[in-house]
């Protein structure tokens, strides 16, 4: 399972890199989304995915080694929320840029790089 998920994370990173290098704003966004998913899966893999009880203490069960470590999942949840907000913002930004520019090609966004002399 760890091997499988590591492969999934690797594929997500590879896909993210591919998309981030495209020239289209939407592809760029897809790249960012995949990158964040990849990062979340890396955290999940690093929690070692053991088969254990959910971390709810009930009377009588106090051996901590029987419970799964809840922290990685909390981290992932936190990261998902943050990334959701950021991606929503980026989507809105990309939409406004598209409206202002009238096209989606990143190669046409040169206004920030040009020297004013030209």
């Amino acid at each position: 399972m760890i091997l499988l998920l590591s492969l999934v994370a690797g594929c997500l990173f590879a896909g993210a890199t591919y998309f981030l290098l495209r020239r289209n704003i939407m592809r760029l966004l897809l790249g960012l989304i995949l990158l964040n998913h990849g990062a979340n899966i890396v955290i999940l893999v690093m929690s070692r995915l053991e088969r254990k009880l959910p971390p709810f203490l009930s009377p009588g069960q106090i051996d901590p080694s029987k419970f799964i470590d809840p922290l990685p999942q909390a981290l992932i949840l936190n990261a998902i929320v943050i990334n959701f907000g950021l991606i929503a913002f980026t989507l809105a930004l990309a939409y406004r840029t598209h409206l202002a520019l009238g096209c989606e090609n990143l190669d046409t966004m040169l206004a920030t790089e040009q020297l004013l002399d030209e």
Binding site: L20, I25, L28, L32, L35, N36, G38, A39, N40, V42, I43, V45, M46, S47, R48, D69, L71, P72, L75, N78, A79, I82, G85, L86, F89, T90, L93, A94, R96, T97, A100, L101, M109, A111, T112, E113, L115, L116, D117
Partner: protein, 500 residues
Amino acid sequence: MSNHLFLPILTLLLGSTLATILGRWRRVARGIVLLAISANFLYSSWLGNLIFVSKERQFVRVGTLIAPYGISFIADELSATMLFMTTFLTLLVVIFSFLTSIITEQIEDFFFYPLVLLILLGATGVFLTGDLFNLYVWFEVLLVSSFGLLTLGRKQIQLEGGLKFVELNLIGSALLLVGCGLIYGLVGTLNIGQITQRFQNLNSGLLTVLATLFLVAFSIKAAIFPTYFWLPASYHTPPSVVTALFAGILTKVGMYVFYRVFSLIFYINLVDKLTILLLILACLTMIVGIIGAIAQVSLRRMLSFHIICQTGYILSGLGLANEAGLAAGLFFMLHTMLVKTALLVIGGIAEASFGTDELKKMGGLAAREPLLATFWFLAMLSLAGFPPFSGFIGKLVLLKATLSAKQYLVAGVMAGVSLGTLFSLLKIWNEVFWKTLPKDEPEPAPIKPYTLIPAAILVGSSLLLGLGASVVLASNTLAAKQALDSIGYLSTVLPDSPKK
């Protein structure tokens, strides 16, 4: 336990919430913002003094959970110094934007001032937290408010710059997140002190991989070569007040994390393998930054490249990986935060007066506004490194540390880039202040003298920093000592843990 460490966070959260709700009444909202930042300024000077005098770290556990399980807040001299300087600069920039009309009412109504508070909140959180994942979260707070500030106004160039800024910074954040996850998997903790302790007993090749991962992530945040491209693409697009704020805070928070994480968690890797890499990156950042600055033909684009150039200096302080280097780098960081903000504030006044920041269309400001020209001249001397300003002392201690570490090439690059800095600043001086106004250009609007107050305070502070360098350097040396003292850090965070 020092519960007061929550104060700055609470003040800023409360202030930004109230300023958002009451945003319809501009004066009330402005009053709240000013009050919140001033309160934080007073608090941070008190905290800085407390730590400097007692030489002890301040520490608090959130929710009284025992350290590795709960998040802890910790302030040492390094974080207190940075907190003080950041709050001071934000205060001055906010006062500057009150005094001028660069921030239009339309932008103000879209929650400009609450966003400024949130950016300061993010920075404060980064400075005070003692937990790696919490640091990532505060970084996101900082980033998302900076995204907001950058794109307020919705001009096409802002949107383009914003997209580049957002994209590269989000990649950096994802790498940081991966780094946090890997560290947790490796040592089972996210408390910075405990990570440091467990890494010392861990002999794994993965550590170098992790260090490099963090290096790339922080390089993106701090605009280090070769990942600085978002900075010159975006810093010149928003209103000049925002650029002044970013110059003082954004990349410097990135540099702070560099200092914090590499002096504690990855210190062994730093000394073993990364020193050379960091020094090479620092030199390239300086060189590329200054060449970029010389090539530009508009005021703010030049100054944005200067920011990159100055981060190179700060990084080289860390690259030396010893106490003197860290202290010198920290002093230089304080100096460059002050002077960079001063230059951008003065540039902002000039830009508002001419209605453009193209050097070709400006001119004759020295005869028209002698006071503004004087302030620019003094700030320029300080950035280039003339005594008695802070730039002189900053470069002197940095050069001294570099030479005593026998990094002669780095010292040479520093000295050479310094000349380039003076050259490019003189170019601005010539174009904006000295030459006569081009014939077909409209007359610049007269400048109201009271708008110069923040610039005067900034230039004055740079002078004070230069004159009172011995005190500040003592504080910085203490900061460097505390930053490198992993055992002391750990025994503050985890008083009951076995000492290693």
